[in-house]
């Protein structure tokens, strides 16, 4: 078996008594687009900064093609990076910025010129060579930063929330650019963001960071359909949680009951389920169906009373209170028959496929 392309092993970083990164383990394949997703302070940026060589890990190792990077200083790592802030060299023109890494590598003039032209073409900024960074928009500056980071063909490109300073429309535009550039260059990208939509749109795989560890690694659909922890379930997609009681648990499935309702069987369970204990049942708004009657025996559902109905254009959002008082959201397509004449206070039954729900214990 060959060594993985990039291997992060037992990475740990302490700042005094603060434990920023606890224990991060990850392998990345060549050409993969891997996103570190998590809230601020989850350790995702610190992990990226250790990869860049700006921070030394307290423990653990990073292997690129089987060789440790830890002892190599930043300027010899041959890694590309696009930062959250604008980091173009303000006294150099766009062309000179892209040429900078090539000049310090002592490329010949003709080779540098050709490369700069090619990179400008890649990020679609031909003709901007002589502009100064201050004369360009934020989006353009980040595209130049991308061209500069890719100019020397780095094996790995790090991106630290590069779009967070841009407005939504521009962000989406550049997300498309990044996807296209990833496909064209086949560079391995490690991308840090706290925006789940951005992560889902861009990534091959996503590593969800929480409190210094990776909670789960998987493709977007995997994380959505089968979240390993309550944190992942909350972070990827919309979800509501209802307190339930575990009746029995076996082979990763649990039977449970909500309030005084009927038992629901065969719900995937995470964590240690104890019969008789309480747990949190995750329900996704778009995977619930709504019937205008109280829950019946034999169906997997719960009774709730409608508290709010919001029209959102293509969809209608119904908020309902479970017997426990917790709010559950249901998203239905516009024009769905169950919504016609629905009003506040109505008792409805919310049904779901036990396979798509998840129970989190502890």
């Amino acid at each position: 078996m060959t060594a993985p392309f990039l291997h992060i092993r037992g990475l740990r970083k302490d700042y005094g008594i603060v434990n920023a990164v606890k224990d991060v383990n990850l392998t990345v394949e060549r050409g993969e687009f891997m996103t570190f997703l998590g809230p601020s302070g989850s350790g995702k940026s610190t992990t990226l900064y250790i990869l860049a060589g700006f921070e030394n890990p307290t423990a653990g190792d990073i292997l690129l093609n089987g060789e440790s990077l830890i002892a190599t200083p930043s300027h010899k790592r041959n890694i590309g990076m696009v930062f959250q802030r604008y980091t173009l060299f303000p006294h150099l023109s766009v062309g000179e910025n892209i040429a900078f890494p090539l000049k310090v590598r002592r490329w010949g003039k003709a080779a540098i010129d050709a490369r700069v032209r090619k990179m400008l073409q890649l990020v679609r900024l031909e003709g901007f060579e002589d502009r100064k960074p201050a004369q360009m928009s934020g989006g353009q500056q980040q595209r130049v930063a991308l061209a500069r980071a890719l100019a020397y063909d780095p094996p790995v490109l790090l991106m630290d929330e590069p779009l967070s300073a841009l407005d939504k429309k521009l962000r989406e535009e550049i997300q498309h650019e990044i996807r296209r550039i990833h496909q064209e260059t086949e560079v391995t990208i490690l991308y840090v963001t706290h925006d789940q939509e951005e992560a889902l749109r861009l990534s091959d795989r996503i590593a969800v960071f929480s409190k210094g560890v990776i909670d789960q690694i998987g493709t977007g659909p995997e994380l959505y359909a089968d979240p390993a922890t309550r944190f992942v379930a909350e972070f990827i997609g919309d979800s509501d949680f209802v307190t339930c009681r575990i009746l029995s648990a076996k082979d990763g499935r649990a039977d449970l009951s909500i309030g005084a309702g009927a038992s629901i069987s065969g719900v995937p369970v995470h964590g240690t389920a104890v019969a008789g204990g309480t747990a949190a049942l995750m329900l996704r708004p778009e995977r619930l169906s709504l019937r205008r009657e109280a829950a019946r025996e034999g169906t997997s559902g719960l009774s709730a009373s409608v508290t709010d109905i919001t029209f959102l254009g293509s969809s209608i959002h119904v908020a309902a209170a479970a017997p426990s008082g917790e709010t559950i959201s249901v998203r239905l397509p516009f024009g769905h028959e169950a919504t016609s004449g629905l009003s506040r206070g109505d008792t409805v039954s919310l049904d779901f496929d036990p396979e798509t729900a998840h129970v989190f214990c502890g």
Binding site: A52, G53, F54, P73, S74, H75, K76, R77, N78, I79, G80, M81, F83, Q84, R85, T87, F89, P90, H91, F100, P101, V104, R105, K132, A134, A145, R148, A149, Y152
Partner: protein
């Protein structure tokens, strides 16, 4: 945002003009003070340079035609240049260190810098005499350690003047440089490192060019101040390397020759203004473009 600020800008234009003229009226007392106590004496001195002992440019001819005086000019420029270079060489790392050190430490260093600036100039210069003279602390220590057998000539020569003036000029270069360096985003240097730049390359290709406006304005200030410096060269320098200010003092005090003194002062003023114009030309507009 823009919607809110735009109408504001439009109404601000006429208001700005009236505010400006009102503000100008406020400066009149200060201007009068400046004219009476500063500009008039200078003008009268300059007039004396062309009027005394008789009208004409004789004073200038004497000043610029004599090798003795030209040597003093030359000496003034070379000492000032030397002081500027040494100050810059020491001031840059200090300013850089101040910019990156924790602010608590930086404020302590600033306090020390400012305290030295506020201490009487004469006291500071005498302190250097005590340190540098033949039987001073430095020579005694070095001899005690057996590193030298004869005291080093550290005072009443170029070495003494350079040390004393560099010390006095340091804050004037550190403060503007600190301001410029602090504005440089550390992430820019991180980006340079990932681009493959060694520390030296990051320094010479990124940091120094970005700090250049601060370096030039600081260096110019030090150079110009050095050109006209009197106390330190007079106390720490020797007769062999007299500076222009000393010459002017001699003309006025010992020789009571106001004409020659005024001429020397005017030459100094012209050089200073020329340098200032050059700096404005080179960096006044360039700095605006960078922003």
């Amino acid at each position: 945002m823009t919607l809110l600020t735009e109408p504001d800008n439009r109404t601000a234009a006429p208001r700005a003009r009236s505010v400006r003229s009102r503000n100008f009226a406020l400066t009149v007392p200060a201007l009068v003070l400046l004219v009476v106590f500063f500009i008039l004496p200078v003008v009268s001195l300059l007039l004396r340079s062309v009027m005394e002992p008789e009208p004409g440019l004789d004073n200038y001819r004497a000043l610029l035609g004599s090798t003795t005086y030209l040597k003093i000019f030359l000496n003034t420029f070379s000492v000032s240049a030397l002081v500027t270079i040494v100050t810059l060489a020491i001031g840059f790392p200090v300013a850089w260190a101040l910019a990156i050190m924790p602010s608590r430490w930086a404020s302590i260093v600033f306090a020390v810098l400012l305290l030295s600036m506020w201490t009487n100039l004469l006291t500071r210069t005498y302190a250097w005499m005590v340190l540098l003279q033949r039987t001073g602390v430095i020579n005694k220590t070095l001899m005690g350690l057996g590193l030298i057998s004869e005291p080093l000539p550290l005072v009443n020569n170029l070495v003494g003047v350079t040390i004393g003036m560099t010390y006095i000029m340091l804050p004037f270069i550190i403060l503007p440089l600190y301001g410029v360096i602090r504005k440089i985003d550390p992430a820019i240097l991180q980006a340079a490192a990932l681009c493959g730049a060694t520390r030296r390359q990051a320094l010479t290709r990124i940091l120094i060019p970005l700090a250049a406006p601060g370096m030039v304005s600081g260096a110019l200030m030090v150079f110009v101040m050095s050109l006209g410096y009197f106390v330190t060269p007079a106390l720490l320098g020797g007769t062999a390397n007299m500076m222009l200010a000393e010459l002017i003092a001699q003309f006025v005090q010992s020789l009571v020759n106001w004409g020659m003194g005024g001429a020397a002062a005017l030459v100094l003023l012209i050089v200073t203004l020329t340098l200032y114009a050059v700096q404005l030309r080179l960096f006044g507009t360039a700095r605006m473009e960078g922003r």
